[in-house]
C-alpha cells in the first residue's frame, strides 16, 4: 500500500534530496517505521517519546494528523502525506 510522503527541505538529507518518497503502512506510526528502514535517522526527527514532535506538522490528505489520531491516524493506498516543520520561534527563549 504505497503512500506518497512529501519531505521538507530540512529532512531531504535523509532522502538523497528527494522531495517525495513512497512508503507503506496502515497507520502513520507504521509509515514512519517504514520510512526509517529506508531512510535511517528520519524517525527521530519526527517522533519524540512515542509521540509526534511538537514542532513537526504531518498532514494526511491535507488534514493535520493531530485531528486524525496522531501517530495512530489510519492510512490507505493512495493517501498523500505531507511533513512540514512548524514555522515558529520568538523572543521567549532569550538570546
Amino acid at each position: 500500500m504505497p503512500v506518497e510522503v512529501r519531505i521538507p527541505t530540512i529532512l531531504r538529507t535523509y532522502t538523497d534530496d528527494r522531495k517525495a518518497v513512497e512508503a507503506n503502512g496502515g497507520s502513520l506510526s507504521d509509515l514512519i517505521d517504514d520510512l526509517e528502514s529506508n531512510h535511517p535517522g528520519i524517525k527521530e526527527r519526527l517522533v519524540e517519546n512515542g509521540d509526534l514532535r511538537r514542532f513537526v506538522n504531518v498532514y494526511v490528505n491535507d488534514e493535520d494528523v493531530r485531528f486524525l489520531g496522531g501517530l495512530e491516524a489510519p492510512l490507505s493506498d493512495g493517501d498523500q502525506v505531507v511533513v512540514l516543520p512548524a514555522v515558529a520561534g520568538g523572543a521567549s527563549g532569550g538570546t
Binding site: 493535520d64 505531507v82 512540514l84 512548524a86 520561534g89 538570546t95
Partner: protein, 161 residues
Amino acid sequence: MLTIDRTTYDGIVAHAKRDHPVEACGIVAGPEGSDRPERLLEMVNAAGSPTFYEFDSTELLTLYKDLWARDEEPVVVYHSHTATEAYPSRTDIGLANEPGAHYVLVGTRVHGNNAGPVEFRSYRIVDGEVTEEEVTVVDALPAPPAPCPENQTSQGNPDAR
C-alpha cells in the same frame, strides 16, 4: 547578504509595527534557488503572543502548497521581537528549519506602533549556527536572469516585467 526591495522592506516593517506588541510573522517567497525575495506574504501569528510566534498549521500547509505550485520557496522568513533585541533567541535557533532562508528579525521595542526607525537585521541559521549578514535595500531587485530564447517575447525589452 540579503538584497531586498524598498516596497517589501517597508511592508515587513509596517506589519511589525501594526501587530506590536504581538510578534508579527511572515515570509517573502521567490523562485526556487533564485535568492530573490519577490512576494511578501504576511501570516497570522497563531500564538498571538508578544514572545512567541507560530504559523497556524492549516495556513502553513496552504502556504507551502501554493509555493510548490509556483516552484517557489521561502527566501525570507521574518518575525518581530517587540521587547528585546532583534537577534535570534534560543527558540528561534532551535526552530529554524529553512536552512536556505534569510531569517529577518525586526525589533519594535523603541517605537512600538508608532513611526520611527526599527532594527531590521538578517541572519542565516544553519545547524544551530547563527551568522548575521548585511541587508541591502534597493529601489527594485535587479532583473532576473534572461529567459531561454524560445521563451522570449517579441517585445524586445528585457526590462519589461
